[in-house]
Amino acid sequence: MVTQAGERPPRLLSSAGFRFAVLFAAMFSVAAVAMVAVLWWATAIALDRQTDAAIRADAIALTERWRESGATGLAESIDDRITVDVENEVIYLLREVQENAPPRRLAGNLESWPEDTPADGAWFRTRAKHDDIISQMRLHRLDLPGLQLLIGRDEDQRVELRRLLTEGVLYASSAVVLFALAGAWLIRRALQRRLGPAFETTIAIAAGDLGHRVPLSGRDDEFDRLAQTLNTMLDRVATLMEGVRGVSDAIAHDLRTPIARARAKLEDALASAPPARTEEGAALRGAVEQGIADLDNIARIFQALLRIAEAEAGARRAAFAGFDLVPVLADAAEFYAVVAESRNQVLETDLPEHLPMVGDRDLLLQAVANLLDNAIKFTPAEGNIRLAAVQDDTGLCISVTDDGPGMPADDRDHAGERFFRADKARATPGSGLGLSLVQAMAHLHGGELVLADAVPGREPPGLRAELRLPRP
C-alpha cells in the first residue's frame, strides 16, 4: 500500500524538531542547574564554613587564654570579645561545674544553657536567647576541667541571606525552564520552516508532478546543501523519466510499425495462399493465421505493459476527474453478465446509489473488467460472482468475489507481479498481466489490491479481490 507519508507534519513525539528541542531544553536546564549549584556552594555553604572556622579559631584562642590565666582570664577574655562585637554576632557562655552544686555562670551573653546541648566537642544548631533576642545560632561545646564553654555565632542574617538566595534560585530556575521551552519551540519551528519547502516539493513529486524543485534560502547552510542535493537528484530523475517516456514513444513507433508490417505481409500471404480445400492450403493458412494471432497477442501484451508502466509512473494523474463510480460498475457488470450467463454462472451486483470518486475512469473500468474477467474464467458452471462496492470512513472498497479455486496465500503476494501466473491458472488463457494492471491502478489512486479467500475454510475457498481506494 502506498501511504502518503509526509503529507501532515509528524506527530509531536515523533517529530525530530521536537526531539532536538527537548535536547536543547535539557542541555540548557543542566547548564543552569550546574550554575546554581556552584552559586549555592560558593555562598550558602561557604558562609557556613566561614562561621565554623571563626568558631574554631575562637575555641583555640580561648583555650590558650585559659591555659595562660585560668578561668578568670577566660571570663575576661569572653567579656572583651562580647564588648568589641558591635554586630551582636558572637555568642558565648561559660559556666563552672562542681560536684554537688548547680553550675555557676561565669561569663557570656547567652541567657541560659540550652537544654538540648550535646556532649563535649559537639557542633550543633539551636534557637536560644542572647542579648534579649531569640535567634538561630551555630554552637560548639568545649569542656575544660571544671568549666563548660559554649562558643557560637548568631546565624539569623545568614539564614535570611540563604532564604533570599533560595528564592532567587527558584525564580531563576523558572526563568530557565521558560527560556528552555521558548528556545525549544523556536528550534522546532525553525526546523519545520526550513524543511517545509522540501516536504512540499517531495509530496508534489510523489504525486507525479516532476516539475517542482526545492526553493533555496540563499544562506548556503546545511538545509540549502540538502535542498541542492535533492534538486540535483530530481533533475536526474526527471531526465531519466524523460528518457523512459521517450523510450515508450520510440517503442510505440519502432515496435508497432514492424509488427504492423509483418502482420500486413502475413495477411497478404493469406490472401494469395492456395485455397483451404487442399491439404497443403489448409496447413499453410492455419500456420499464417496462427502467426497473425501470435502477433496480435504480442501487441496486446505490449499494450498492457505500456499501460501498467504509464499507471506506475503516475503520469496519468493529470487525467484524474470526478465521476460517479456506480454507473461505471453497473455498466461493467452488465457487460460481463451475459458472458457469465452463457457459462451458467450468476453475476450479482451490490451497489449503493452513488459513489463519488476522483480518478481515472478508463483505468478503473479496465481494472474492474480485469477482475470480472478473471472471476468468470475461474468460476465453474453454476457458480456465483459478485461485484460489490461500499464506502466507509477510510474510503471506497470495490470487491469481486467468485466461487473459483481461490489463490494460495503464497501466490497472492506475487499476484501483482508482471507475468506471474499461479500454477492453477496456467491452463487458462491469459498473459499474467491482468492483476498487475489492477495493482498499478490501485497504487496510482493511492490504494491497494487485497486478495483473500472468499469463504475461508470452504473447499474450494473462492477468491475475493478487493480494490481499496482512499477517500478522494
Binding site: T257, R261, A264, I292, F335
Partner: protein, 226 residues
C-alpha cells in the same frame, strides 16, 4: 471512394493501398506530411487515412488541424502506432473522426473506412430504422419484426441501432465496443460475441431469414440478403 493515404512506412502503405484498391476504392498516397497536406488541401477526397508520426515537418495532428481551420470537413481516420488513451483523445480533439492503432487487421481498417466514408453528410432526422421486416423506432424505443414486438434491453437497443445504421457494412467487434459501449480497452474474453449472439436470438430466432450475419475474421453485418 477516393481516399488519400498519408503514411511514411512503404510496406504498410503498399498493403493498405492494395487492400483498399481491391475493395473498389481509389487511393492516392503521400509519404510525408507536407505532401499529404498539399494533396488534401488541393484535391477532393472522400476520406483521409493519416499516420500520426510523419516526416516532413507536418505530423498527422498538424495536418488535420490545418485542414479543419480551412473548413475542410473531409472525414479523417488516424492510423497510428501511438496507442495510449491520451493519444487517441488528442487525435480526436485535433479533428480526427476515428482512430485505429497499429498493428491492425485490414478488415478492421476497411470496416472503419467504409463506415466513415458512407456516413451521411447531413444527419437526417430519421425516427425509424428499417432492415427488411425489422423495424426500430427511435422515439418510442420499440423494436418490431414482421409486426411482432421484440423486447430488448437498453444496451441491446443501442447495439441493434448501431448495426441497423450501418446495414450492409461490416462492423467489427472493436467498433461495437467503442461505439456502443464507449470502452477503449481490450476485453480478453469474447464478450462482444456473446452480446451479439443474444441479440441474434431475439431478432432472428423463429424467422426464416436471418438478418445478423457473422463475417469471418472481421465482425458482423446486418443485411436482408444472406
Amino acid at each position: 471512394m477516393r481516399i488519400l493515404l498519408v503514411e511514411d512506412d512503404a510496406e504498410v502503405a503498399r498493403f493498405v493501398r492494395k487492400g483498399l484498391h481491391e475493395a473498389g476504392h481509389m487511393v492516392e498516397h503521400a509519404a510525408n506530411g507536407r505532401d499529404g497536406l498539399f494533396l488534401a488541401a488541393s484535391e477532393q477526397f472522400d476520406l483521409l487515412v493519416l499516420d500520426r508520426m510523419l516526416p516532413g515537418g507536418v505530423d498527422g495532428l498538424r495536418l488535420v488541424e490545418t485542414l479543419r481551420s480551412q473548413a475542410n470537413r473531409t472525414p479523417v481516420l488516424f492510423l497510428s502506432a501511438l496507442a495510449g488513451v491520451d493519444e487517441r483523445v488528442k487525435g480526436l480533439k485535433a479533428g480526427g473522426d476515428d482512430y485505429l492503432v497499429k498493428p491492425f487487421a485490414f478488415a478492421e481498417l476497411l470496416a472503419r473506412v467504409e463506415a466513415l466514408g458512407r456516413r451521411p453528410s447531413v444527419d437526417a432526422p430519421a425516427t425509424k430504422l428499417r432492415v427488411a421486416d425489422l423495424e426500430l423506432d427511435l422515439l418510442s424505443r420499440m423494436v418490431t419484426r414482421g409486426g411482432k414486438r421484440i423486447d430488448v434491453q437498453p444496451r441491446e437497443f443501442r447495439l441493434l441501432e448501431h448495426l441497423m445504421r450501418h446495414a450492409g457494412q461490416v462492423v467489427t467487434r472493436t467498433m461495437l465496443l467503442e461505439k456502443v459501449w464507449d470502452y477503449h480497452f481490450d476485453p480478453q474474453t469474447n464478450v462482444i460475441d456473446v452480446h451479439v449472439s443474444r441479440l441474434r436470438q431475439k431478432i432472428d430466432k423463429g424467422f426464416d431469414k436471418p438478418l445478423i450475419h457473422t463475417v469471418r475474421n472481421a465482425g458482423y453485418v446486418m443485411r436482408a440478403e444472406p
